[in-house]
Amino acid sequence: MGKDTQLTDRVFKSVGTRPMRPDGIDKVTGRARYGADHNMSGQLHGSILRSPHAHASIKSIDTSKAEKLKGVKAIVTAKDFKTKGITDPDLLDIIDNCMASKKAFYDGHAVAAVAAVDAKTAKAALKLIKVEYKILKHVTDVDEAVQPKAPLLNNKCFTKGVDPTPDKASNIAKRSEFGHGDVAEGFEAADVVIERTFKTGQSHQGYIEPHACVASVGPDGTGELWVCTQGHFVFRQQCAKILGLDEAKLKVTSSEIGGGFGGKTHLWVEPVALALSRKANRPVKLVMSREEVFRASGPTSATSIDIKMGVTKDGVITAAEAELRYTSGPYAGSWATLGAMTSFACYDLKNVKTVGLEVLVNRPKTTAYRAPSAPMAAFAVESMIDELADRIGMKAIDMRIQNAAKEGTRSSYGPVYGPIGIGPTLDAAKKHPHMSAPLGPNQGRGMACGFWFNFGGQSCTDLNIGSDGTATITVGTIDVGGARASLALVVAEELGIPYDQVKAVIADTTALGYNEMTDGSRGTFASSMSAIQSCRMAIADMRQRAATLWEIDVDEVVWENGHAYAGESGLNDSNSNHPPLSIADLAKSADKTGGPIAGHAQIVADGAGVSFATHICDIEVDPETGQTRVVRYTVIQDAGKAVHPTYVEGQFQGGAAQGIGWALNEEYIYGEDGRLQNAGFLDYRIPVCSDLPMIDTQILEIPNPNHPYGIRGVGETSIVPPLAAIGNAVSNATQVRMTHVPMSPPRILAAIHAEAASDD
């Protein structure tokens, strides 16, 4: 996709307006159908037996009694998942996670599943399955897991990324290193050097809709899967491979999705439902309980980060170094890699080095969570920046401005930046009234910056013009929070017709080519790019049709404002004998000019623009209890071009709220037995309405040169700064540096008391 030179001064008509979403009425009347809202004839109830142990060898599974129970139609265990011929290690991990083969790696790991006529029978059947375990020593803490004597999860895990490869197995699955310059030299040049260790708890995406699917596979290998997912094409591909089905014969339909945030990019129960269905030759509905969601679907990593930064007394950061240890559950991932890449991405550093270590632990498999791995790294880095600024007597915002990355800066992860928005968000923050508003007693203000890459990937769209001139845009990316509205706006813009004459539809896997998932903030970025190309193809076709109707050369037809004009200058050509033709006019005669009017595009939407944000927040701390209250919160972020500003604001606000929850209370709490103690909304404590203030937003528009409208992804960056912004605010309110997320009241109070004791 080439550059569009118009983009900076383009005047948009539809893009940038705030119409109502097309799927809205269904969602306010209860008509919208989510994962658990679909049923099929003859449907069975699926249920999963899960390990009660954090780490155990599975000696045997006896399903004979359960099989004899009346109403039980199928039981599957790992034996029903054939791994022969599968070489992709990630896919093998997915299969093992969906159904434990040799070992149960965490409390909640699936070991068997039942399909029965109803929930009651399924539940009774699970109780009749006898699993013999040999309990093994477990490790859930990231720092304990890297110790030489830690219980080993996988005796074939030899750290990747180290040369030569170690000959002794460990829980460190991968080491990845980034950076440039010479940090030792950099620290020499510094006037102040600070070293600290930060820890963050494991948080869950916390989508309100639990995973749910209905699977149906016939004896001929033809199947259907109805599922709440962020990527039904990816699910089709992976499920087909796992089950040994032909992709083309597996139709995957994405339901409305009740939140994902990365957690629904991954298979958890779907292959199990398909396997049960195939065995029973009946449709199977499988819905996770909330407890199962917490225990057995992927949370983010818990981390421990050693960081060292040096600064001159003039505020120049001379060197920065970090070792970041990220848990990835029982299987390798690339979470520490992403942490190592993103940690210092906001700054222009001459000497920087980051090392990420992927650590295996007896916790559920880590999945992506909104800008995965970036928030924890930002917590460490942005806390350090505040502390360094304080030490040299500089304002934290000024030190950030002075060191901010800009066009031409070599990023800490390697490449040199093009035009980027970190500087403008900082300038906007400095000018924002929030920065200078007075603070009350026991209140502190904090700020922090955040970075996320964003990406694009494969996209495929169809545009079809109806006989009345209205347009249907069919996309293969899931709409998680208003994308249909945004895509309809883009199509309306491109075709020059009103928004309400465009219908955006999410197709199932039989109707379009492959599409990547809605992740990496790519939904609107990539689908709009493909939609624009589909429109341009249809417009080219319509120009040709107008030329045919007018019996003139196509070069003499100009397309403007949704109309074909005869004559080179279009609108202004009053000499033309041909009155302009609207899309509706052209559609009316489509049967005489070549049949239905359509456009199609299949692209790799590369060139997503990186995205930066700066957040400001005020926190009040009760010094006697450590209780916190978020008093005020402001998000400033670059959107490239905000297609539907209301939903862009919504992304900013939602990301901030998730970050606030993570910063203050959310975490996985494990007992001595390695079992999760708080597998429910009550004790996991995501923020409720009365916990938050209004979240102010400021959208900056620094166009992405690689998108025809300048669009960047906006979904993820907003969760990156809150951990640090809140940490800095709490530290400013209490005069105690907070180093452990979540900053729950017991932790804050303990930190205040420890500081008071050290002062005595």
């Binding site: 539940k123 309980s289 407890e291 006697e624 209890t625 450590g626 209780q627 203050l664 209370n665 709490i669 103690q677 708080n678 909304f681 009550l682 004790d683 404590r685 923020p687 409720v688 009365s690 916990d691 729950s744 009241p745 017991p746 109070l749 303990a750």
Partner: protein, 287 residues
């Protein structure tokens, strides 16, 4: 499973006495249904008491208020006279879960669920409330602090059901207050809580006091030593500090997912002080 919904207390008692297996009373259901969902209980019989009219009533009589066992906490919140007489008890009842939960849950259920962190229980203990229990052998009256014997265990015998909770009569210059600590503003379980009930004499002198703490021991506890500290004289800083200390000393908490021993012990004192100030000013005292 059998679901039964008697319309008279006597019938409920009969059904409870004769039912076999795992028999459970359904008042608000906000604890029972959660335990059923989690598979922690599998009742053979559920006896729903919400169809019993007398158990649905809040009555104001010569001896004080009686609150039927099936009265939802939101109904308590809507009762003006009750709110005026027992602001601490009502605010405790209205802190349980959300509006949705309060539309169902009851203080009798909260009491019989026997959680050390139950919100309404410390307030009821401070209020010197009594549970009126009907059983096969007739009626007995038990002080609320004696109902729970351990986490999840009560002194109720087979066939017994709490019919109503009795709150003493109130005069002028009496007030109570309940405060709890939760990390979130709502939808949370008390990490620690404190209830203070005060009666003032002339010139703001405290004549009676009762203090109870929640979530700091296996059951909610009455702190009798606190009564001695508060009684006689006005509420001043010295009294408050002594109150905090005695409350800290009364704590026997555990470390768990909701809080640490250290945190609970410290905050118990903080909340006791704050609740005492609130009750004192509510009763007309000047700080």
């Amino acid at each position: 499973m059998e679901y039964l919904a008697p319309e008279k207390t006597a019938d409920a008692v009969k059904l409870l006495a004769k039912s076999k297996g795992s028999v459970h009373v359904l008042a608000g259901g906000s604890d029972l249904l959660v335990r059923m969902k989690g598979g922690y209980v599998e009742p053979d019989v559920i006896i729903d008491i919400k169809r019993i009219k007398t158990m649905q009533e809040i009555k104001k009589g010569a001896t004080g208020f009686s609150i039927g066992a099936a009265v939802s906490c939101s109904k308590m919140g809507e009762h003006k006279a009750l709110r005026k007489a027992w602001p601490g008890v009502v605010e405790a009842a209205n802190l349980i879960g959300s509006d949705q939960i309060q539309g169902r849950c009851t203080i009798a259920g909260n009491l019989c669920n026997a959680s050390p962190a139950a919100d309404s229980v410390p307030a009821l203990i401070a209020a010197k409330a009594v549970a009126v229990i009907k059983g096969p052998k007739g009626t007995r009256r038990v002080a609320v602090e004696d109902i729970a014997t351990a986490p999840g265990k009560t002194c109720l015998k087979k066939g017994e059901v709490v019919e109503y909770i009795q709150l003493p009569k109130r005069a002028a210059k009496m007030a109570d207050a309940y405060l709890r600590f939760t990390p979130r503003t709502e939808m949370d379980i008390a990490v620690v809580s404190a209830a203070v009930n005060l009666t003032l004499g002339p010139r703001g002198v405290i004549t009676h006091a009762r203090v109870a703490l929640g979530a700091v021991a296996p059951t909610a506890v009455l702190v009798p030593e606190a009564t001695k500290i508060l009684k006689g004289g006005k509420l001043d800083d010295a009294k408050l500090e002594a109150l905090a200390e005695i409350c800290n000393a009364a704590c026997r908490p555990i470390d768990d997912k909701r809080g640490t021993i250290q945190f609970r012990t410290h905050v118990a004192g903080v909340l006791a002080k704050r609740a005492a100030r609130l009750a004192y000013t509510r009763a007309g005292g000047k700080l």
